[in-house]
Symmetry: C2
Subunit: 157 residues, 2 copies
Amino acid sequence: MPTPDRTAAKEKFMAFLEQKNLRITTQRRAIVDTVFGTDQHFTAEQLLEWARERDASVSRATVYRTLPLLTESGLVHEMDFGKDYKIYDPNYADHPNHNHIICDDCDKIVEFESEKLNELENEISHKLGFSVKTQQLRINASCEEMKKLGACKNKDH
Amino acid sequence: MPTPDRTAAKEKFMAFLEQKNLRITTQRRAIVDTVFGTDQHFTAEQLLEWARERDASVSRATVYRTLPLLTESGLVHEMDFGKDYKIYDPNYADHPNHNHIICDDCDKIVEFESEKLNELENEISHKLGFSVKTQQLRINASCEEMKKLGACKNKDH
DNA sequence: GTGGGTGCAAAGTGTTTGCAAGTGT
DNA sequence: ACACTTGCAAACACTTTGCACCCAC
């Protein structure tokens, strides 16, 4: 069930579309409802699958054409964990500076925020003569289970 | 010109091959000489081009088959900046914790190290119950030129 | 001699795009 | 009506792989 936050995010995106003179089609509605109806991370392919449950006419092309709009709006964050697909995070607007730790074994992803980290990053970038546009700290690690058991039980590959 | 460090890296890789009972072919030698003969970042395609200057018989397939060996040995670091190709860093063994800022416009990459940043990362991971295996901070930014001129002059695309 | 290595070209994979038809406004 | 959108399938870009020949050890 969508929280107030996520409903707000959906509305913001609709406003974003309107402001750019883009149309609200049934396919886009299905995609947007899906994106802001979960707080899980997802891939393009998963989004296609989920959106098709709402409207079977959604095509892969439309998903791929809508994802850039979602990220451009700032409401969804695109991430790359070194896998061969990208992961999207629909919970970004409320926490624009969060980072991720991913367990190399079970792919579990934990989000965290650190004000200190952000300050440090800005300080470093400034010193080097850059202005930060986006930053992504990716920590590949072993999670508790991995350390204790040698493998994680929710490992699916 | 290779520094002592880079010569050592090359020898370490040769030892790595031997220890795995892998052969030192002329093609592999050309690739390895290229990799440890520069301290620049490179893509698979650039490596192919450079290696072919040493031995024209080097094929794309061999480059792609050798890269995993290089990263597995720990002497070369594979990085992903969200572009559709990977970037390799032959200067990794000596500086295993460096991070990168990339200019989104001209693809300029600047490396930096920060002890503070590493400490902070370890502290956070520990708190969350993970042990860090590798970490990669990627900051996408605009470089000085981009800020001043609106675009970087070495932009090649 | 033989098991690993190589080049070539074909296959893979995730993503993008040209086009003709469809549709929100 | 008009411009934006869509689905489809072909195209893409990078990477991987099957195969027959080759070569380091």
